[in-house]
Structures are given as structure tokens and as C-alpha cells.
């Protein structure tokens, strides 16, 4: 196996007494779309800034294709990044914003025009960027990230300010980027934005990784569990507890089993010839899982 596209290795960043990122590790492989999730202030932006060489880690490393960002031979063609949308000079036009970056990256102006069309800004390109909506700024930022046709994309909250159509467009777009073999790391504080598209998610809270898994696994392990009701529900609970399962009693006499699949419970019921009237999964929304993991219900978005 070659080097990972992105490798965050025991990264720690302290600002004085405050620990922004605490011994965080994860990798992103080429062709994978990874969601980087956590409430606001969890350390996502700090991690991405360390990855892009903008801040110096207190400890640990953050590398792109095996090198620190500053040591890459051709950074603009290796990594494209958007951090915090809206980093524009208000009196410079969108086209000139891209052109000045294109010049520094040795990218021709024709590529700028091409990208302006791609992100649907061709009509507004010659207006002062100060008048752009948040969504337009996000799209301009995305165009800037794509200037060098990079193999690795790093996007910080790219869905902020986009309307539902825009979010959908962004999802399809990111999916296609990953399908072309690029590594894509997308941060968000809103799980649902990323959930349907990401191959896997890294969830952080207070600078630490709290979960790192494909989304389906996360749903399975952190889901709402199985509800069992019926005359023998109490007996089922006893048997399951005997096998070490976490079982709670619901108010109506039914039980909720946290860590056994429906099939496990079904087999048990059949083996002991018990009678139940209901065996159903409790749907738990992505947000609930998110809050459960990050322990932070204060940032509902």
C-alpha cells in the first residue's frame, strides 16, 4: 500500500492553555470521500489549517501524499482547498480573484474561464466580489480549489450558505471527484450534509476523535436499537442480559435492545419458543447519533 493522500498523525495543537486539537489521527485514501464532522469549535478548521501548513502543530504531523504541505513540489496541482468561505477582497472581481491565484499557480486564464462556467459564476465574474452572496463566495472558493486540477481536495464547511439545490449539486460534484480517484476531505458541523455522500466519517469533539468508521457501521453501532414487545418481552430481556446485551425497559412494558441485531433476537426467540408481538428497529436520526457521539446538543443546525 502506498502513502495515504492525507495523513493526520497524532496531531496536537495548543494555543496557550487551550487545546484545539488533541492527539488526532486519521487517513484519507485516494478515491475516498471522507466527512470530517464535529460541532463548531471541535477543532476541524484547526486540523485543516495544520494540514495546509498555515499553522504549526504543537505535536504530531499532518501530511499530504507523505510530505508536509510546505514541502510539496507542486502544491497547487496536488491539493485544492477551501477554508472558511468568503476570503475575498470586496473590491476585486471574482474573475480577477481566480486569475491572481492562477498566476501564482502557473495555471492559464482559460482554466479560470472554464471553472467560472463550472461553478455557474460566469455571469457574475466581472462584478465586485463584495456583492456576492455567501453561496456565490462558496462556489468561487470551490473554483479556486480546482484551479490546479488537484488530486486531493480539502473543503471546510463547503455547504454553508448554499441553498438545497446547491447542496445537492455539491454532493454530486464531490461524489464525482472521488469517483475520478481524488481524495476528498469535507468538514461539516451538519451531519446530514455529508452523510449521504461520504464513504466514511471521522467525528471529532473537543479536539479528539470520537468515531471513525464507514457511515453504515456508525449507524449500526450507534443506532437506536431494537424494540421488542409482547407477552414474553420480559423473558427475552432476561435471556439477552444473560448474554451481556444492554437492555432497557420501555414504559409500555416493551424492551429496547441496544447492541443486538434483529436476527440475533429472532434466533433467541425461536430457540426458546417464546411469543412476541413486535420486533422492530428504532430509527435514530443521524443527528441523534451525532449528538450522542459528540455529547453536544447545543449546535443543532
Amino acid at each position: 500500500m502506498g502513502v495515504s493522500a492525507i495523513d493526520i498523525d497524532h496531531l496536537t495543537k495548543r494555543y496557550g492553555e487551550t487545546v484545539a486539537v488533541d492527539d488526532l489521527s486519521f487517513k484519507v485514501e485516494p478515491g475516498r470521500l471522507v466527512g470530517f464532522l464535529g460541532p463548531n469549535g471541535a477543532g476541524k478548521t484547526t486540523t485543516l489549517r495544520a494540514l495546509l501548513g498555515l499553522i504549526r502543530p504543537t505535536d504530531g504531523t499532518a501530511t499530504v501524499e507523505g510530505s508536509p504541505f510546505g514541502d510539496l513540489a507542486d502544491p497547487a496541482h496536488t491539493v485544492g482547498a477551501v477554508l472558511d468561505g468568503g476570503m475575498l477582497h470586496p473590491s476585486r472581481s471574482g474573475r480577477n480573484h481566480l486569475r491572481m491565484l492562477a498566476r501564482a499557480a502557473a495555471v492559464p486564464n482559460s482554466r479560470v474561464d472554464e471553472l467560472l462556467k463550472l461553478v455557474d459564476l460566469a455571469d457574475a465574474a466581472d462584478r465586485r466580489a463584495g456583492g456576492y452572496s455567501l453561496g456565490m463566495r462558496q462556489r468561487l472558493g470551490l473554483a479556486a480549489a480546482l484551479l490546479g486540477d488537484p488530486r486531493v481536495l480539502v473543503l471546510d464547511e463547503p455547504a454553508n450558505g448554499l441553498d438545497p439545490q446547491g447542496i445537492r449539486w455539491l454532493r454530486d460534484f464531490l461524489r464525482s471527484m472521488a469517483a475520478q480517484g481524488r481524495a476528498v476531505l469535507v468538514s461539516s458541523h451538519v451531519l446530514a450534509e455529508v452523510a449521504q455522500t461520504a464513504d466514511e466519517v471521522v467525528v471529532i469533539a473537543r479536539g479528539r476523535s470520537v468515531a471513525q468508521a464507514p457511515l453504515k457501521e456508525l449507524l449500526a453501532t450507534s443506532g437506536g436499537g431494537m424494540r421488542v414487545a409482547g407477552p414474553d418481552a420480559g423473558r427475552v430481556a432476561e435471556l439477552l442480559r444473560g448474554t451481556g446485551a444492554a437492555v432497557d425497559a420501555a414504559s409500555d412494558g416493551a424492551i429496547v435492545v441496544r447492541d443486538r441485531s434483529g436476527e440475533d433476537i429472532g434466533v433467541l426467540v425461536a430457540e426458546h419458543r417464546l411469543v412476541i408481538s413486535e420486533l422492530s428497529p428504532i430509527s435514530s436520526s443521524l443527528e441523534e447519533i451525532f449528538f450522542q457521539l459528540t455529547g453536544d446538543p447545543g449546535t443543532v443546525a
Partner: protein
């Protein structure tokens, strides 16, 4: 490096700031140049033609501001982040800004000095006043003023990279150059030093606009060298600060 300089020149051209600063300089120089050369009374001893050419020195303050904006604007609007994601080498970035802004400063100087010289010489000759200036005198002042303007732009780039805060850097620089140094000259002994070796003293020596009047003035070459020394110190300090800094804006 050429790519980075070209990017910096485009940054200068693509906002209205540089244009507004250049426009202000041209407007001021033309206005004050005209008024001064029309009303100047040469029968009094203390007015000399060379002082009129010194009006072009206005351009230096504007070049300083232009230079300060080179780095501070990127922090103020957060464009430093995309700038550093396409080219992470911060030393090269400061050097590219330095080259681009010294070029802009020199251009500003040429514009201001050219206009002033033309206005002063034309107005005086139409008033039938003998300027008493040799071509050598004029050339010395013109070259000195233009170089000083370029160096003030470079000084601004270094200071902006060091301070990063736009308002702080501009207020500090203008406060020092226009106010503090003048106040310091009141103090005995120290005042003489400030007048001779201060930012304005070095600049005036390089511009050659204060040759005999104040007596104790550095030679043009020494003034230029001293101003270059100040500028280099700020550029090095600014570059070192940029290298170390965490970019969080």
C-alpha cells in the same frame, strides 16, 4: 518567482486602492505644485527652487501606505489563506510583494517627480524667473526623490508583514514619520540626531532637497544607504515574523 511577482502586480491592479492612491498623489502634486510655484516669492532668501521640487515628496507617504497594504490587506480580507494554499513559501511571497511594490513605488515617484518638475520649471520660466538650477541639480533631486519613494514602499511592505494589522501599521507609520520625529527634534542633542539620522533626515538627504539650508545633513549617498538600512531591517523582521506566524484569519 516571476509568477508570484506577476500575481502580486495583478492584485495591485485589480482593486481600486492602488489607483486611488496614485490618483491622490497626482492630484495633490499638481495642485500644490501649481499654487506653490505661482505664489513663491524668491526675493526672500529662504525660498529656493529645489524646495519646490521637494513637493513630490508627498508621494513617499502614499508609497508607504501602498506598501503597508501589500500584506495587511491579505490578512484583513483573509485572502492570505488562498494565497498561501497555492504558494506556501512565505519568504518568496514577501519577496514577490517587495518586488511588485517597489516597482509601484518607483512608478509613483516617477509620476510625482515628473509632474512636479514640469510644473515648477514651466511656471517659473513663464514668470520670467531664473531657476538657477543646473541640469545636474535637477537630475540629482529627481533621482533621489524617485529612489526614496521606492524605498518607502519597501519599508511599508516590511512593516506590514511585521505588524499585520492594517490600521495599526498605517497609524503607527504615519504617526512616526509625520509627528513623532518632528516632536523629537525639539529635544536638545537627541533632536539633532533625529533630524540627521531619522527616517525623514535620511530621506531628505537622499532626495537632496535640504542641502545647504539646515547645515548638518548627510550626503545623498549616505542618506540613501541609511534609508536602505532601515528598509532592509524592516523587511527582514517582517519576513521572519511571516515565517513563524500561525495563519488563522
Amino acid at each position: 518567482m516571476t509568477r508570484l511577482v506577476s500575481a502580486e502586480l495583478l492584485k495591485l491592479r485589480s482593486t481600486r486602492t492602488a489607483l486611488a492612491l496614485i490618483g491622490s498623489v497626482v492630484g495633490l502634486v499638481v495642485l500644490i505644485g501649481l499654487i506653490a510655484s505661482i505664489t513663491a516669492d524668491f526675493k526672500r532668501d529662504d525660498v529656493r527652487t529645489v524646495d519646490l521640487l521637494g513637493i513630490a515628496g508627498f508621494a513617499q507617504v502614499f508609497a508607504l501606505i501602498l506598501g503597508i497594504l501589500a500584506v495587511t490587506t491579505e490578512f484583513r480580507h483573509g485572502t492570505i489563506t488562498p494565497t498561501l494554499t497555492v504558494g506556501p513559501d512565505r519568504v518568496r511571497l514577501v519577496l514577490a510583494k517587495l518586488v511588485a511594490h517597489v516597482l509601484a513605488g518607483l512608478l509613483l515617484g516617477i509620476l510625482a517627480v515628473g509632474l512636479t518638475t514640469a510644473i515648477v520649471l514651466i511656471v517659473l520660466s513663464s514668470r520670467g524667473i531664473d531657476t538657477g538650477l543646473t541640469n545636474g541639480d535637477v537630475a540629482g533631486v529627481v533621482v533621489g526623490l524617485v529612489l526614496a519613494t521606492g524605498l518607502w514602499a519597501a519599508l511599508g511592505v516590511g512593516l506590514g508583514a511585521l505588524v499585520r494589522n492594517q490600521v495599526g501599521a498605517i497609524v503607527g507609520a504615519l504617526g512616526w514619520a509625520l509627528l513623532v520625529e518632528n516632536l523629537l527634534t525639539i529635544i536638545p542633542t537627541v533632536g539633532d540626531w533625529v533630524q540627521k539620522y531619522g527616517l525623514n533626515g535620511a530621506t531628505n538627504a537622499l532626495s537632496h532637497v535640504e542641502s545647504e539650508q539646515t547645515g548638518d545633513v548627510l550626503s545623498q549617498a549616505a542618506g540613501g544607504a541609511l534609508l536602505l538600512l532601515y528598509t532592509t531591517a524592516f523587511v527582514i523582521a517582517g519576513t521572519l515574523a511571516m515565517r513563524r506566524r500561525d495563519i488563522t484569519s
